[in-house]
């Protein structure tokens, strides 16, 4: 069964506002995760510029030997991306679910200030549920 390694959320100016590790592989310290986030933000922007097709919305999937990186950018500019075992299925659907949880449990939390790091227990709880393997499988239906 394929595994999800980590999840990142980047605000529209490129700041990492959420990072979570799942499982043992690919663990990172805070500095590295910040680096990955800012690197991805720039690469994503550059890919939009370099794309031969007009209206390209940036890289959606990066496949490497040891991991896949799936990225979803909302129309408001927030980016969500998961790093997972190569070949993991249903990641686009999972990212949409995460975006929805973000709108429910982060943006509706009266204590959350826009663009700031996310520290919302309820978001964490719901995220953990959504990311459980058996739930992710259901997304394929």
């Amino acid at each position: 069964m394929a595994a999800i390694y980590s999840l990142y959320i980047i605000n529209k100016s490129g700041g990492l506002i959420f990072y979570k590790d799942y499982g043992s592989k690919g663990r990172m310290d805070t500095n590295d995760s910040l680096r990955v986030a800012s690197l991805w933000h720039s690469m994503h922007a550059i890919s939009q510029q370099l794309s031969p097709t007009t209206g390209c919305s940036g890289i959606e999937l990066l496949e490497a030997d040891t991991f896949d990186l799936h990225c979803f950018q909302s129309l408001t500019g927030t980016k969500f991306f998961v790093v997972c075992e190569p070949g993991t299925q249903h990641m686009e659907a999972l990212l949409k679910v995460i975006y929805e949880l973000y709108t429910d449990y982060v943006l509706k939390n009266p204590f959350y200030e826009m663009e700031m790091p996310i520290r919302c227990e309820l978001f964490d709880v719901n995220l953990t549920q959504a990311i459980q393997k058996d739930r992710v499988v259901l997304l394929g239906r």
């Binding site: 429910d104 449990y105 509706k108 939390n109 009266p110 204590f111 520290r119 919302c120 227990e121 309820l122 978001f123 964490d124």
Partner: protein, 172 residues
């Protein structure tokens, strides 16, 4: 079933109302902000109790009116009843909602990452905002009861979230 709107509408409106009064109008005067928010709730409670009691006989005593708040009134607003009602039989009633809807999306930041000193101030801050949000439902209950002829004071206790207890003290 009457007309409905998405829950986000009321959630957004309440959040914005609290932030308007606490952060913009009365940033340094929380007690004034609290009074305004309570007053808005009071008006809503007053109007709603008028509508929801239209077809019923007069309440014979305080307990009956409180029970109406716990059952019919609460169901209209939150699609559930108050879970537990206690009284000391001397004019104080405690209405507990085990999962109060308007608190279900509030997570309080309890992470220790910020360093201890800063953390306590953030916690205190969050607590203050949270209690600001509760002045509104307290106002609703007070408005409803006073419209039923029961002057009272209402406060809220959220020491075990997501449960919320509303303490009603009837004025003799």
């Amino acid at each position: 079933m009457g007309r409905e709107v998405s829950e986000s509408c009321i959630d957004s409106l309440l959040t914005e109302m609290v932030s308007t009064y606490c952060n913009r109008f009365y940033a340094n005067k929380p007690e004034l902000a609290a009074r305004r928010i309570e007053a808005i709730g009071y008006q809503v409670g007053h109007q709603l109790s008028e509508r929801y009691t239209m077809d019923r006989p007069r309440f014979s005593d305080h307990l009956e009116a409180i029970k109406f708040i716990c059952k019919d009134f609460w169901s209209e607003l939150f699609k559930k009843q108050i879970d537990n009602l206690k009284t000391n039989h001397r004019g104080t009633f405690v209405l507990q909602d085990n999962r109060f809807r308007w608190l279900t999306r509030m997570s309080i930041d309890q992470s220790p990452e910020n360093g201890a000193s800063e953390d306590t101030s953030i916690m205190a801050d969050n607590k203050a905002v949270q209690s600001m949000h509760l002045y509104f439902p307290c106002g609703i209950i007070r408005g409803a009861l006073s419209n039923l002829g029961i002057p009272c004071a209402v406060s809220a206790d959220i020491s075990n979230l997501p449960a919320c207890s509303f303490v009603v003290r009837i004025k003799a």
